[in-house]
């Protein structure tokens, strides 16, 4: 017992010395004897490294996973899992067929034990199927579709950071209760947008608001123009303009919202999904005051800041929640292996199901056994004006917490049959 304590203390000192924001997992103290199936652990990260999601996840998400591995070794020793830990990666370019094929290569040829990240819902769902066929683990972080824990759920697939339900439950409720009850929702006419529209409509109505109208914008939006919807908003004069567009589309909407000066007419902006990278593209002052839901903000507390500092040193940017989510998921996966004593997929699944934990990214975490949605608190954040920012990437402040129960889709609605 004494030795255990000493080891734990050394580990703590080492971690502190490295400035690591080492997550405090539930059962982290057990000095498990781990046997890896093929003598090593292989973590695959498949995401978009060259197209629309390259900035918000991409190469730097791979760096985050590598950081997790290094910090894990720093905490538990070089041989923490009884063998080498490799991180391999591929760029799926948002092509579902390339994603599916790469996943098969990773699982079959490279003996990957898990695949992480995977933005783009069609690619995310395609890999869920591969994971189930190969009976290997898959934790999705950057895709938003609730289908991963709904109709397409399976034994080996987990959904970690956020989904459309969470975004609506947070922003839809708060904005309806605090800013205005009459909504006009505009959404991009593809799976993510349709999903968001449905979720927000549900949340707005549930909390006493009304959706005056909702309109889809063309997908893909070849012209980059949203003026017809914005003029319509000017005519309908809702209190809230709910914008479900993401990435480049979102930037276009907000630029044109400002151009039409809808804010001056009392039409407030509510944004479904907002990454720090979007704020960079639009300009912080253009976005100031906007309230949005996010699983994590890098400046929210010291623990998160410590991670963000390390990340900044390594990559030159502050982490988005997708980067942080990848670190956290990789960490919790390795913790589960320690608890299981093996990297055998079924044993690790058993360890993950029903596991309750906290780390710098996940608060009040609970991996729901029934559908593999990782329940956790979400945050309500607001973009600050640039004058309040302490540094270049200091974009948002936290307004409040949305409890895990509220932020998670009720099991009954999931429709998951594993």
């Amino acid at each position: 017992m004494k030795r255990v304590l000493a080891l734990a203390m050394i580990a703590a000192v080492v971690t502190a010395a490295c400035g690591a924001a080492a997550p405090t997992g539930g059962a982290s103290a057990s000095p498990a004897q781990v046997t890896l199936n093929d003598g090593k652990l292989v973590i695959g990260v498949i995401n978009d490294q060259s197209l629309v999601y390259a900035d918000l996840s991409g190469k730097n998400a791979v760096e985050a996973v590598k950081m997790a591995v290094e910090d894990f070794k720093a905490k538990y020793g070089e041989n923490a899992l009884g063998g080498p830990i490799e991180v391999i990666t591929a760029d799926h370019q948002n092509k579902p067929d390339l994603a599916s094929s790469k996943a098969q290569e990773f699982y079959e040829r490279n003996n990957a034990d898990i695949i992480l990240d995977v933005p783009t819902s069609s690619a995310a769902l395609a890999i869920a199927k591969v994971a189930n066929d190969e009976k290997k683990l898959y934790i999705n972080i950057t895709a938003a579709t609730t289908d991963l824990t709904g109709v397409s759920c399976n034994k080996y697939t987990f959904h970690y950071a956020y989904d459309t339900y969470m975004l609506a439950a947070g922003t839809g409720k708060w904005v309806t209760e605090n800013l205005g009850k009459q909504w006009y929702i505009i959404y991009p006419n593809y799976a993510f947008g349709q999903d968001m529209e449905k979720s927000f409509r549900g949340a707005v109505t549930k909390f006493g608001g009304t959706v005056v109208q909702s309109d889809g914008s063309p997908f893909p939006n070849t012209s980059g123009d949203f003026s017809n919807l914005l003029v319509k908003a000017g005519q309908l004069k809702p209190q809230i303009l709910g914008v479900m567009q993401a990435g480049g589309d979102l930037v276009n909407v907000v630029k044109q919202y400002n151009q039409f000066k809808l804010g001056d007419q009392g039409i407030k902006l509510a944004i479904g999904l907002l990454f720090d990278t979007d704020i960079t593209a639009i300009g912080q002052d253009q976005m100031a005051g906007v309230v949005y839901t996010t699983p994590w903000v890098w400046s929210m507390d010291d623990q998160s800041k410590a991670f963000a500092d390390k990340f900044l040193k390594r990559t030159g940017i502050r982490p988005t929640f997708a980067h942080a989510g990848n670190y956290s998921a990789a960490w919790q996966y390795m913790e589960a292996i320690r608890r299981a004593g093996t990297d055998d997929a079924d044993a690790v699944v058993k360890q993950l199901e029903g596991y309750k934990f906290n780390d710098f990214f996940i608060r009040n975490g609970n991996i729901r056994a029934e559908d593999h949605w990782v329940m956790h608190d979400a945050l309500l954040a607001q973009v600050k004006p640039a004058s309040e920012a302490k540094e270049k990437f200091d974009y948002s402040k936290v307004l409040g917490t949305i409890p895990a129960e509220t932020a998670s889709r009720p099991l009954a609605d999931a429709g998951c049959k594993k």
Binding site: S50, L51, V52, Y53, A54, D55, L56, N189, D215, G216, S217, P218, F219, P220, N221, T222, S223, G224, D225, S227, N228, L229, V231, K232, G234, Q235, G247, G248, V251, N252, K255, Q256, Q259, F260, K261, T277, D278, T280, A281, I282, G283, Q286
Partner: protein, 291 residues
């Protein structure tokens, strides 16, 4: 669906049309003289927007000078590309230059992404144009009206250049009767570079105009190029007046279509393109018969 909304949509359509017109005008004169369907035209539009962004960011040069400098800078790049690459493929199947410019578009977009990231860069509306004016029931951004007016001005200027100058004479002759022009001893090739540069400059100009109202990002032109193809085909490949008219027409039609269903914008354009190709293959505004 009140009349006010419909009439505002008309203006929105003209704004979109202004971009289509500039882009398709450039595409059309390049096709007319070089027989090159320039797949990189969307990437050039992107370069124009980035050039404006860089001028502001690096040298503190604002919107108005950028409106002149950025297109010239990008057009010079076009000269290099024409001299080094396109020139080698004249006289061969146009398919080759089509593929070459496709490769060029991939290259340029990826290079810009590596340098600036995918997400986009902010660009402010010039102060002089950031106000709104009242247009009936709604206030309308002055900048948008400026885009319509400026694009029209440039289109008319280009038309003048082509109708009234020697350069234009050669361009027109080469567009309409290429073999005959050569046979008459006119050195078409000498003018080719100039025409390519003008076409490229027009696309870059559209990019500068777009910077204050569209996301300045490496992929901003990658889908737009397909739509521009449709516009040029509807106007008649190589037809100067046709490209401009079709540009504004498509902008307005798509915007009015969006009054009924915003999602139908895309379908309208391609349905119209198919119909035009089948009924009037030389384009809506051309008197010639095409193959």
């Amino acid at each position: 669906m009140d009349l006010g909304y419909v009439s505002i949509q008309l203006f929105n359509g003209l704004v979109n049309g202004a971009f289509y017109a500039l882009l398709s005008l450039g595409l059309a004169i390049i096709f007319g003289v070089l027989r090159v369907v320039n797949f990189a035209h969307g990437a050039v539009y992107m370069l124009g927007a980035f050039a404006a962004y860089l001028l502001l960011q690096q040298f503190d040069i604002g919107f108005w000078p950028a409106l002149v400098l950025a297109p010239i800078g990008v057009a010079l790049l076009g000269v290099v590309v024409e001299r080094l690459l396109l020139r080698r493929l004249y006289g061969l199947d146009p398919l080759y230059n089509f593929l070459l410019t496709f490769g060029l578009a991939l290259f340029l977009q990826d290079a810009m992404r590596l340098r600036f990231g995918i997400q986009g860069q902010p660009y402010p509306t010039p102060d002089e144009l950031s106000a709104s004016v009242s247009l009936g029931p709604v206030s309308y951004p002055v900048y948008r009206l400026f885009v319509i007016a400026f694009s029209l001005l440039i289109c008319v200027a280009t038309w003048y250049l082509i109708e009234r100058t020697r350069l234009g004479m050669v361009v027109r002759a080469a567009t309409e009767r290429a073999e005959l022009t050569r046979a008459l001893g006119i050195d078409v090739d000498r003018w080719v570079t100039a025409v390519f540069a003008i076409g490229i400059g027009l696309a870059a100009l559209a990019g500068v105009l777009a910077a204050p109202m569209r996301n300045v990002a490496p992929l901003m032109g990658s889908e737009l190029i397909i739509l521009t193809f449709a516009v040029v085909v509807i106007g008649g490949l190589g037809s100067i007046v046709g490209a401009v008219t079709a540009g504004f027409l498509i902008g307005v039609l798509a915007s009015l279509g969006a009054v009924f269903n915003p999602a139908f914008e895309n379908v309208i354009v391609f349905a119209l393109m198919a119909v035009v190709l089948l009924v009037r293959p030389a384009g809506l505004f051309s008197s010639r018969e095409a193959a």
